[in-house]
């Protein structure tokens, strides 16, 4: 967060951003909120990575005693929860914030204050969930928190309460952001920016927002049931009362499978921007890329039970979900080939973002193929809940999402800060990441097929697992070095990086016509778009600087405000107060809930009754 506290200096731009902590707390500028998202998510990436390293130290040799079984269970639960909800999703949100208005030619998002609110809810929710470490009660039910293990009867500590309340809070953040971006993309496109001219990243973001809007309510309800079971004695997950012990699994995975696409599509979008730029060719099969994403999103709601082949759903259900799952492989495969043929016949420059993007194409292919392997239920029975699955989803989420997000970081850092990141350090960062990633996760395919169940604190000696686990652990340590290099590159490039012009990479999409960093209003003149790559087709010229402020230009900009932060804070405290109920203080809990609910409502009224911007 220290990086976020001081705004980068930009000498070549006449426009000066406000500085100081207060300006960051009250900002409603989508680019600054994007930066906050990015730096916060990277901080949690470091935490989640540290958790992974501790897991790998424990598993480095058989019968490890580095940490206790309970600590281990907390670590893998929080590693998964952190990487999914606190790293990949918000890092994607960072790019949604930074890029969507720039790519569609808008001056901000539709609801700038709601945007700030989304970020503050994310920050407070993530802090709340991780505060559980301080009292030694971090969530320990696994990232998909299967009942009845997570019901009060089997987990009576605060661990699961932190998890479920934290996820409820984070869900609010994602939903608020989704409404905002849907409206922004539908309603704020510049003249000529029709849907089939939108940059592919914005398209992927658009699809992801619909997935969020439709998938998050389902987990919200699943969590509400769990919350009511734990706090109010309802019986949603009590098998003795006749409840279906699989209800949670169905609800969770109806959310959980679309969630996979929520995690991967933004990275696909970023790569679809990077590959054309450094191949100097437009994206191959733009329309098919768009339609395949829509198809993936649609089919994504019909495959959830492939996470449940081992529960015994019967041959008919197994067949049905196996076939839908295989079907979803087709549009995914199409994307891979379209990317390869984007490069085919091109003039490929191997910059750092391009290396990460190519790595995504290569590594996601592996994750996709192993995914097809467990789309087949009989084969899946031998694979599910083993390290083979761990290998699979790390190829998808690290080899796919994280590689794409790093490509995005290197590609858009100049736009965000006005400085280039070091190519030399970047090259080291990439190759270390690439090698370490494969070193860590490739052996997990073997340890899984050799009979190692996932989420195990120890494994016994003499089972043929020692060598694969040792290699995985060494890979993880190397990965830590790679991440530190990446962070160092981001840090030092703020000062030491070469000054980037408006369009340092020679890219074709609209956002590169703005100065780097863009002024608060992005576009002094709203552009008129005539093609998918206006910077290549001569439709737009780069603006190297914007010497005038919004006021001078007469552009109405939203006023900074602290109110969304307060609403987010009181909402978090309101839900956090529930914890007191399990500490034997029901009165204090109710008092806390009511107090913070009232404060939240008052701040909300105060926010809504204040005009967004000054009257003209």
């Amino acid at each position: 967060m220290a990086t976020a506290a001081t705004a980068p200096a930009h000498v070549h731009s006449g426009y000066h951003e406000p500085t100081g902590v207060w300006s960051w707390l009250t900002t409603v500028d989508h680019k600054r909120i994007g930066a906050l998202y990015l730096y916060t998510a990277l901080a949690w990436f470091a935490v989640g990575g540290l958790e992974a390293v501790m897991i790998r130290i424990q598993l480095q040799g058989p019968n490890g005693r580095f940490i206790s079984a309970d600590t281990y269970n907390q670590l893998f639960t929080m590693h998964g929860t952190t990487m999914v909800f606190l790293v990949i999703m918000p890092m994607s949100a960072a790019f949604f914030n930074l890029l969507i208005p720039l790519q569609i030619g808008a001056r901000d998002v539709a609801f700038p204050r709601l945007n700030a609110f989304s970020y503050w809810v994310y920050l407070f929710g993530s802090l709340f969930m991780n505060a559980s470490w301080l009292i030694g009660a971090a969530p320990d039910g696994g990232w998909f928190g299967y009942t009845p293990l997570t019901t009060y009867q089997y987990s009576s500590g605060l661990n699961i309460d932190f998890w479920l309340l934290g996820l409820q809070i984070l869900g609010v953040s994602s939903l608020a952001a989704a409404f905002n971006f849907i409206t922004t993309i539908i309603n704020m496109r510049a003249p000529g920016m029709n849907l089939m001219r939108m940059p592919v990243f914005t398209w992927m973001a658009f699809v992801v927002q619909f997935l969020l809007v439709l998938a998050f309510p389902v987990i919200t309800i699943a969590l509400v049931f769990l919350q009511f079971d734990r706090f109010f004695g309802t019986q949603f997950y009590q098998a003795a009362a006749g409840a279906d012990p699989l209800l949670w699994q169905h609800l969770f995975w109806i959310f959980g499978h679309p969630e996979v696409y929520i995690l991967i599509l933004p990275a696909f979008g970023l790569v679809s921007e990077v590959l054309p730029t450094f191949s100097r060719k437009p994206l191959f099969g733009y329309a098919v890329m768009v339609y395949s994403a829509i198809l993936i999103a649609f089919l994504g709601f019909g495959v959830w039970a492939h996470h449940m082949f081992a529960v015994g759903m019967g041959p008919v259900a197994d067949t049905l979900f196996a076939l839908t799952t295989m079907l979803i492989g087709i549009p995914t495969g199409v994307k891979i080939f379209n990317w390869i043929f984007t490069m085919w016949g091109g003039d490929i420059r191997f910059t750092t973002p391009m290396k990460f993007a190519i790595a995504l194409v290569g590594l996601f292919t592996i994750g996709g193929i192993s995914g097809v392997m467990h789309a087949s239920p009989p084969a899946d029975l031998q694979q599910t809940d083993t390290y083979f699955i761990v290998a699979h989803f790390h190829y998808v989420l690290f080899g796919g999402s994280m590689m794409g997000l790093w490509a995005g970081v290197y590609y858009y850092y100049p736009k965000l800060t006005g400085k280039m990141m070091s190519e030399k350090l970047g090259s080291w960062h990439f190759w270390l990441t690439f090698i370490a990633m494969n070193l860590t996760f490739m052996p997990m395919h073997w340890s899984g097929l050799l009979g190692m169940p996932r989420r195990t604190w120890v494994y016994d000696a003499g089972q043929g697992l020692e060598i694969w686990n040792l290699v995985s652990s060494l890979g993880a340590y190397l990965q830590a070095v790679a991440v530190i290099l990446g962070f160092w590159n981001m840090w030092r490039s703020r000062k030491a990086g070469a000054v980037a012009g408006a369009n340092p990479w020679g890219a074709g999409t609209l956002e590169w016509s703005t100065p780097s960093p863009p002024p608060e209003y992005n576009y002094a003149v709203i552009p008129t778009v005539t093609s998918r790559y206006p910077m290549w087709d001569g439709g737009m010229q780069a603006t190297e600087s914007s010497p005038k402020s919004a006021k001078e230009l007469g552009i109405p900009m939203p006023n900074p405000t602290i109110k969304p932060l307060f609403v987010a804070l009181f909402m978090t405290l309101m839900l956090a107060s529930m914890l007191l109920m399990h500490k034997g203080m029901p009165t204090a809990a109710v008092a806390g809930i009511i107090t913070f609910a009232v404060l939240m409502t008052l701040s909300l009224y105060s926010w809504l009754l204040t005009p967004l911007e000054d009257e003209h």
Binding site: R107, A110, F111, L175, A178, F179, N180, I182, T183, I186, N187, M188, R189, A190, P191, M193, V213, L214, A215, F216, P217, V218, T220, I221, A222, V224, F225, F228, F232, G233, T234, Q235, F236, A240, A241, G242, A243, D244, L247, L251, A524, V525, I526, T528, L553, G554, I555, P556, Y605, H616
Partner: protein, 229 residues
């Protein structure tokens, strides 16, 4: 939003550029929100239906239960006549909402509804907004009565699967109605303080969309939970 100003200024400089669809942002956002709410209630209703008839102990929604299955004889607990009345009340509130929106939209055309006392009532946005809120509150009163009588008959949220899923589903709906009533009262307060006119039509419009949605959800709940045995 200052669409008129933007149109006057063109795409350069002053004011906001026109929206792509010509619709207000908030109108699109409320539709996205309603889409999301649909999934929320779908999950709740599906769970209720999945658990229907699965309770190990009574009270049950429709079934008559005699010893030895139950300790004492139980009558069907859902009171369809009373709930039909509350459903009617909620439906009428939607009608009032429509009238309220029309009154706000036509505020700058005095006499648009014709003449006579009924026309004057039609033109009063305050009456209709307040009436919507009152009808909503009446519905909540019915729900409070229903919940209390269920508890007296031995059905609590902890009692059985029916109790858990019924109270959670109808409770969530009731919470939505409560938010709606607060929203309407806020609009009423604004109307009293500075008067709502056509320029504020959007404010009332999105509240109305929300209100109609909550009403439609209740129709689904009433049909699936109360009427279908």
């Amino acid at each position: 939003m200052a669409t008129a100003a933007a149109a006057a200024a063109g795409v350069v400089g002053h004011g906001h550029p026109p929206t792509t669809t010509g619709l207000e942002h908030r109108k699109i956002a409320i539709w996205a929100f309603i889409g999301s709410e649909c999934m929320l209630f779908t999950s709740l209703i599906s769970t209720y239906l999945a658990y229907k008839g699965r309770s190990v102990t009574g009270p049950f929604p429709h079934e008559v239960c005699n010893p030895p299955q139950c300790a004492t004889t139980m009558q069907p607990i859902l009171d369809i006549p009373v709930t039909s009345v509350s459903t009617f009340v909620l439906l009428m509130s939607s009608l009032a909402m429509v009238m309220g929106l029309a009154a706000v939209q036509n505020k700058d055309k005095p006499g648009w509804a014709g003449t006579g006392w009924w026309a004057r009532i039609q033109e009063s946005s305050r009456i209709w907004i307040m009436m919507t809120a009152i009808l909503g509150a009446t519905f909540l009163g019915f729900q409070a009565y229903e919940f209390t009588s269920f508890v007296h008959e031995g059905l609590t949220i902890r009692k059985n699967l029916f109790g858990s899923s019924f109270f959670t589903l109808t409770g969530f709906h009731g919470a939505h109605v409560t938010v709606g009533v607060l929203w309407l009262l806020t609009l009423y307060a604004i109307d009293v303080r500075r008067g709502l006119g056509p320029k504020d039509a959007l404010l009332v419009d999105i509240a109305a969309l929300y209100w109609h949605f909550v009403d439609v959800v209740w129709i689904a709940i009433f049909t699936l939970v109360y009427l279908i045995k």
